[in-house]
């Protein structure tokens, strides 16, 4: 069966909420309650899950632990994924220092930069390698995900190299509309585009009632 991409994008949201519930010691949750937590309709959640199987109990809801396990398995979060960071400027450093990846099974195992001053430095238990060695290193020691944190001008180049090395998932922080061949998955992190689209709504909506009431 062909599963709508938006559904795949929502599953990680569900796993996160379920993890929180599990930590709180909850055994069972209804689609209604999960929906309230996430700002999603209960029907949406039930329909999304129904693409993969029948995980709930009528009249009761979903077993938190069981549904979490199922989703981890469906998404492939029950294993370790190896990642390489390309570009170790301010942004790359912040990415290397981010503690949110590891606990979810995403480990940064290589870091590359073109600046001779940075090559050879040790950061967070990694030695920064020369960008020139990117291809050689990844062919010998493949990674699952490439994280692109280089300037816009060379980003497409770096992405092409990653693809040539067999990397099939790329997380790009570069502000360009990068193209990848079919079978390679690319997600972009674009704070500036997010701000620009919000500017439209700021410009075209009345001041919030709270603010209006105060003035």
């Amino acid at each position: 069966m062909e599963i709508p991409p938006v559904v795949i994008d929502r599953l990680p949201l569900y796993t996160r909420a379920l993890s929180t519930l599990e930590e709180e010691g909850r055994d069972v949750v209804s689609s209604q309650e999960l929906g309230t937590l996430l700002g999603v309709t209960p029907a949406q959640i039930r329909k999304d899950l129904s693409y993969f199987g029948r995980f709930g109990k009528q009249g009761r809801g979903y077993n938190v632990r069981k549904l979490l396990d199922e989703l981890h398995h469906i998404l492939g979060l029950d294993r370790q994924w190896r990642m390489a960071v390309i570009g170790v400027g301010k942004l790359g450093l912040a990415i290397l220092g981010y503690e949110g990846f590891g606990p979810q099974g995403f480990r940064i195992v290589e870091a590359f930069d073109a600046d001779p001053k940075r090559i050879g430095q040790r950061i967070e238990n990694l030695t920064i390698r020369a960008a020139n060695d990117l291809e050689k290193t990844l062919l010998k020691n493949p990674v699952d995900v490439g994280i692109v944190a280089v300037p816009a001008g060379i980003a497409q180049n770096v992405i092409d190299t990653l693809v040539k090395c067999g990397v099939r998932a790329i997380l790009s922080y570069a502000p360009i509309p990068a193209r990848v061949p079919p079978g390679v998955y690319l997600k972009r992190i674009e704070p500036v585009l997010a701000l620009q689209s919000m500017a439209y709504y700021l410009k075209n909506s009345p001041r919030s009632t709270a603010a209006a009431a105060r003035s």
Copy 2:
């Protein structure tokens, strides 16, 4: 007329491509060419623009300079937007140091943190203020956008405070499904969710032909 949200999300993409074209000295561009640059169909671009007016010339295409000006005006990018960063840890520091906001008219004018060691420090021409003074400062000196870079546990709290201060656009880097009242716009930057959804495709697709050919 009610404009589909996805359309608003694409306009910033168009402005970016047009800026590049303008720097290259291009006078005119067709929806066909713009589409190829962005990975979007030409019909999509024409339809999107048609919500706002008629900016092209039949038989010729769009004047780059003129269309760029129109889009800047439509999105509200022809002015300065004031932003505050809340949370000046590793992530907040990277955000403060990011050079991509200023040139687009988004200026960070305040930074807040709860850690006494950081309060009072000067970073990038800003003095870090105490998180306790957030409300007082923003009521006296309002900002248009709040950038949330605090730990998950206190993010909803910070967001509620921002909303109370009349902030109507929030860019959140916190990994929580934060809720805001109607009339407040929230965009989230979620690298972990992006990775988790890509994991699904990695798990369920054959190795790319390039990689397969090599093995």
